[in-house]
């Protein structure tokens, strides 16, 4: 039998159902993995008692012959952007240090309702602003992966869901929650050889998820494979009256309808995604992906998304604008840090608190957002960006006239070394070149591991689907997964 720690959601579920092991054994296995993984700095808070309590409830329910929830007995990692009742939630920021939510986010609550337990709160880029997990106020997350050059240099797990990617790829948690604003689920999934899914905007409630850019933020699963993502997303999604942009639609049973037969499906290859200076290995992987989808019965068509090059600049106006507004709530009055210099008034307290509590990247984005929303510049920057966003969305609509899905690389490179890009914010932003356009259009998209580069690091392919057509995205992902035969895992050095 496969060792428990190597198992994902589906394996754990059937092992518990068949009586191969108890939920308690599963929880204890992963709790031990978590405490042994400190060198990765992936967890901000460990909550073994939560995982054990959920396991006990699952074992009791099974003994009583009750129907088990879809995530019953699965202890997961929770990105520390989800508010968890009674458990410190900081978004990896100094300004929320010590914040203990008095309520549970809808997504985490849905997962607990489905029987999941929580191993702990996962490190991330501060307020999810970053692509390498280097903006956390509590230190970098170190990827379990290393290059095969013997150099042992520390690599990024990607970001912003870096802690989630590290623990799933390191087999420290069988699955973890992520959030994706411009690629924060898909890029770290690609960097660490796991599967990550961003659903259609509105599928998962944003209630209780610490806000970054509200018109873009979506939660999603990060797991071993496509099936696990389908199971977990089914337990996260659903209508929530507490989020005004939540979609009032039934949640399909994505797992039950999984099929890797793509006969009749047309896959578009957007020519604008062939960017300059893309490593030959990524281009080759993309070609391999095309062959895999053909082999699964799909037809390949060339498509054009002419406004692609404007997606990143539009994103870096819209996301900071929304962030500057969302983060105005951190004022030192209601929660989190307060910095009150001697004799200071209210305005000085706000400024001192925010100076002390926000990291450099967060400040940079608040400043940009404030500028592009300020009087005299609003139309030139923000309104123009929202118009370009309309054009980007229309590009996708036009593409859907000739295809059902799009296949692209997930990221323009494999994981890079920690520290390599921190001096140049723009170079860091360019990491999201393939993931941002679908975020701006609110479309479902996933990253599937599909190959290994010359340095032994994983590479991912991205599938983008029509709004609400998560099923086709899952199915194409499954077709790639079955053919790519990706089995590489990081060697345990920690």
């Amino acid at each position: 039998m496969t060792a428990i720690f190597e198992m994902g959601i589906a394996g754990i579920r059937s092992g518990i159902a068949d009586g191969d092991f108890t939920a308690k054994e599963v929880a204890e296995t992963f709790i031990a993995r978590v405490s042994a993984a400190k060198p990765l700095n992936a967890f901000l808070v460990e909550t073994p008692e939560h995982a054990l309590a959920a396991a006990e409830a699952t074992d009791k329910a099974k003994a009583a012959g009750e129907t088990l929830g879809k995530m019953a007995g699965v202890p997961i990692g929770m990105k520390d952007l989800f508010c968890t009742q009674g458990v410190e939630t900081t978004a990896a920021s100094g300004i929320l240090k010590g914040f203990v939510p008095q309520y549970e986010s809808t997504v985490s609550s849905n997962l607990f309702q489905a029987g999941a337990g929580m191993l702990g709160k996962l490190n991330l880029d501060q307020f999810a602003m970053g692509s390498s997990n280097e903006t956390s106020a509590f230190g970098n997350v170190i990827s379990p992966w290393r290059r095969n050059d013997g150099g042992n240099s520390d690599l990024t797990p990607g970001g912003s869901s870096g802690g989630s990617a590290a623990v799933v790829s390191g087999r420290i948690a069988p699955a973890a929650t992520g959030t994706d604003t411009g690629g924060s689920i898909r890029q770290p999934a690609a960097f660490t050889g796991i599967t990550g899914f961003k659903p259609t905007y509105g599928r998962c409630s944003r209630w209780g998820t610490i806000a970054f850019a509200s018109s873009l933020d979506q939660a999603g699963p990060m797991a071993h494979d496509v099936r696990d993502c389908a199971i977990m997303l089914g337990s996260m999604a659903g209508f929530d009256a507490k989020d005004s942009t939540s979609l009032d639609l039934p949640v399909p049973d994505w797992e039950a309808a999984l099929s890797s037969n793509l006969a009749g499906k047309k896959i578009g290859i957007p020519k604008e995604y062939r960017v300059e200076n893309m490593p030959a290995e990524i281009d080759a992987l993309w070609e391999k992906g095309i062959e895999m989808l053909k082999d699964a019965g799909a037809t390949i068509v060339d498509v054009s998304l002419p406004h692609t090059k404007y997606a990143l600049p539009a994103y870096y106006i819209i996301a900071p604008a929304e962030a500057s507004s969302n983060l105005s709530r951190y004022d030192g009055v209601r929660y989190g840090l307060r910095d009150l210099p001697d004799g200071a008034g209210l305005q000085d307290m706000y400024a001192a608190t925010r100076e002390a509590g926000f990291g450099p990247e967060v400040k940079r984005r608040i400043m940009i957002g404030t500028y592009v929303l300020s009087a005299g510049y609003y139309d030139a920057y923000y309104t123009q960006a929202q118009k370009v966003r309309t054009l980007i969305s229309q590009d996708f609509d036009k593409a859907w006239n000739s295809c059902d899905l799009l296949l692209t690389p997930t990221a323009p490179s494999a994981a890079f070394g920690l520290g390599e890009k921190m001096d140049d914010p723009l170079a860091m932003y360019l990491n999201d070149v393939f993931t941002v356009p679908s975020s701006l259009a609110g479309l479902p998209a996933m990253s599937v591991p599909a190959g290994i580069d010359g340095k032994g690091l994983p590479l991912g392919l991205q599938i983008i689907g029509k709004a609400l057509d998560e099923q086709s995205v899952f199915n194409a992902g499954l077709a790639i997964e079955e053919r790519a035969g990706f089995v590489a895992k990081p060697e345990q050095w920690w």
Partner: protein, 95 residues
């Protein structure tokens, strides 16, 4: 359009973030680089385009005009840096 140090200080003040002279100096080239890059959006002809308001068509819902929440004062105050007599406490406002 390029940003100078005075503009950086004004943005910081609007953002309610205290910054030192050195930080203001550092922000000048950084913000100019990023804003210079996003300015390429100006090339796109958007004269006949409406700005995006919702990526997925969705109507704001109405609900019954009834109280659905409340009686949670202590929970709301639980994380306050300073709460006194059931209120958030702030320094004296002199303006």
């Amino acid at each position: 359009m390029s940003i100078d140090k005075e503009t950086v200080k004004k943005i910081a003040s609007l953002s309610r973030i205290a910054i030192t002279e050195a930080e203001a100096d550092a922000f000048v080239p950084e913000l100019n680089q990023i804003l210079g890059w996003v300015e390429q959006l100006g090339e796109v002809d958007c004269s006949k385009v409406e700005p995006m308001t919702a990526v997925i068509p969705n109507k704001l819902r109405l609900r019954e005009d009834v109280v659905t929440d409340g009686e949670i004062r202590d929970k709301i105050l639980a994380n306050a840096p300073i709460a006194e007599h059931g209120f958030f406490a702030v320094p004296k406002v002199i303006e």
